[in-house]
Symmetry: C2
Subunit: 424 residues, 2 copies
């Protein structure tokens, strides 16, 4: 008997048949005595269809006036979803009512297409819950101080669900998706990958930002800030499985560093091959050199991920960093035209065929030798490490792209993630 927030992704809402299944599942929870707030995404494909129409009429879509209209258009996808889900719930005999972001209201700033939630007024929603209704709220959107519709950007429905859960102090926020939880690594690369019963908030942040696409990273940050108990689980289990079983399925993102978590030093292996490496060779090792290089890159609105600068020899050093592979050619051109002369560097070397592999684990904080186990494992497989970065709970290496699968499998084994685990 608790207040629970459910969030369903676009695939789960993809057809009337699937919406009916969502309704049956939600109605089951309501019948069990819980108060339910449900945040569905737009039907899959709908947001792209709407944005496509908008781009046909104004290809550039740069200024605020245009972005405001874009939000007006895109927000309708979720409005249709909440109405349809409320109708499906009513057809199941479950009283339900839908609200758009502006009706709750969910107030945001005016940064159209990437707005941030400022506040949520839960008075109206609570009244409905008390009256026995399931409340279905549009994800992905809110309303600004001027009364204009805003959207939170792609994946924003996760953030909406977590924000509503935070504002209403929900017992738990269940994110129903097309995977059944968070894995130690991608099962397509390592068939032995296991679903984690729990993962800490910090680890989830690292896993999410390192390429595990289960949860939108802003929603994880939000959950961390407001201590929302978050669970990722599958929307494709039969809707009528026992509620106790369902409530324990998937992966719980937790904030308590309990004993169980201490057991696993490394919780998962993340990787991505979206990056490219660039090295400015033989830069004079003088103050301000990093800014001269990266300032030009940032001015071109290019995001930099890993940055490494080694010790200098003879007053010169090599400066390396990675950018998204889509920005690689542009970055190289930029550096060739301006930065080489400006810095007096000897050469510029680029490599788009790299990948980043990371071990993530909150246990690393209190365990020594984790990074050295990583390096030894890669060395035993004959894999050369090109760059290294570390944080408190992760260690990332950049290696040749062709070794990616080999590295991930070896590390997965080396850190004991292949073994059967007691995780639910």
């Amino acid at each position: 008997m608790a207040l629970i927030v459910h969030k369903y992704g676009g695939t789960s809402m993809g057809s009337p048949e699937r919406i009916r299944n969502v309704a049956k599942r939600v109605a089951k929870w309501a019948r069990a005595g819980h108060q339910l707030v449900v945040v569905p995404s737009a039907m899959s494909g709908e947001t792209n269809r709407l944005l496509g129409l908008a781009k046909e009429l104004q290809p550039a879509l740069v200024d605020d006036a245009a972005l405001r209209e874009l939000d007006m258009i895109a927000a309708t996808g979720e409005q249709v979803s909440v109405g349809l889900l409320a109708l499906a719930l009513q057809a199941e005999g479950q009283p339900a009512v839908s609200y758009s972001g502006w009706q709750v209201p969910i107030t945001t700033d005016s940064a159209y297409t990437k707005a941030r939630i400022a506040s949520i007024d839960d008075q109206r929603v609570r009244a409905d819950l008390s009256a026995g209704r399931v409340v279905v709220i549009t994800g992905f959107q809110g309303v600004d101080a001027l009364g204009s519709v805003t959207t939170l950007g792609r994946g924003g429905s996760d953030t909406s669900a977590v924000a509503v859960a935070a504002a209403m102090q929900a017992a738990e926020c269940l994110i129903y998706t097309d995977v059944d939880g968070v894995y130690t690594t991608d099962p397509r690369v390592v068939p032995e990958a296991k679903r984690l019963g729990t993962i800490s908030f910090e680890e989830m942040l690292e896993m999410a930002s390192l390429g595990s696409k289960v949860l939108q990273i802003r929603s994880v940050e939000f959950a961390g800030k407001y201590r929302v108990k978050l669970r990722v689980l599958s929307s494709f289990t039969p809707w009528d499985i026992a509620i106790d079983e369902e409530a324990q399925s998937g992966t719980l993102i937790t904030f308590e560093e309990d004993e169980k978590m201490e057991q696993a030093v490394v919780s998962g292996i993340a990787f991505n091959r979206d990056e490219a490496k660039i090295t400015v060779v033989g830069v004079p090792d003088t103050p301000g050199i990093a800014f001269k290089i990266l300032g030009a890159v940032a001015a071109a609105n290019i995001d930099v991920d890993v940055i490494v600068q080694n010790m200098s020899h003879d007053g010169r050093t090599d400066f390396s960093f990675t950018v998204h592979r889509n920005d690689y050619a542009r970055t190289m051109a930029l550096l060739k035209s301006d930065v080489l002369q400006l810095t007096g560097a000897a050469d510029l070397i680029g490599d788009a065929k790299i990948c980043k592999v990371s071990i993530v684990g909150i246990g690393m904080k209190s365990h020594v030798g984790v990074a050295s186990t990583m390096f030894r494992t890669l060395s035993e497989e004959g894999i050369n490490i090109q760059m290294i970065t570390t944080s408190e709970i992760k260690t990332s290496v950049v290696i040749d792209e062709k070794y990616m699968e080999l590295a991930v499998r070896a590390l997965h084994r080396a850190f004991g993630l292949d073994a059967p685990s007691d995780a639910a």
Copy 2:
């Protein structure tokens, strides 16, 4: 330099290319120095698509909770339209902003799917107009006192446009549609039919309710009540025709009974074959008999149109009326099972193969002999009149369906509508 309201139907908004054309036309008016409020419908087909989805999830859709969700869903069609049109206007270099009904706000009662407008707050719209922006407002919808989205029912965008024009005391409300005005009769039946340069509000009401589908009848009533100058014109003329020419095109619905209107006794011939005739034969001519028959029909939620009761012979009379052809079988079954015994009538005769032909003209008020000209014309063509009803400005007859075209053509000629006219 006036405040003008434009309304564009779903066909005019049917594709990005057509929306671009609407934008070019609106921008032309704005460049000429006018303040423009534009009310577009949903893209053609969109409302049906949305209602189809809703019906898949809840086929009955009867109670208020369901109808509220239906409105939530259906309203998105127009929200997409206003956003797209605003983007198209901006792309033409014309500043523009869109508003949903709740943002204006357009306040309505809570009769979901058929709400009525209570008030319109034009403060926000006026501020935008003063700032040089075209304001694009969703048709078909508003918001009730509880903050729920409501829709005005099919064709409601016409009513929205007229209501906005009334609230803002616009100089004129231009209804752009896929026909180029109101005709003396349907040109598919009478090739000589002429477009009317002007038509009186009362005539338009009769023409609209008698089957001329140019304008939604509620919008005409609204225009009459608030004296909104209304013009129906084509959205398929080239967008760049001279603004003076465009402003004089189509048909003006007017409230002044000027000399020109006095000239034409009959303005148009309306007709429909959607009705069926039912005669209860040999009813005892006692008080309350009409109620006994029509009370049962009304209780079954069946609309009755023409009603005729003749003089009685030997204490018995024949009672005839028409219903929509879709309700014909149901009405006959109902009367057979209950009403015959109840009234002691001798027999029940039905005929679905009828049509109703009407002459409409505000000049009929002050001209005698109009009805007799009608009857003589039909008689000369050998057409038997089955029922007759009259109002101040129209005379309708029910005849055999097979004579419909013949009757309409003969009447069109008899009342001088074939002749060249001075109407613009």
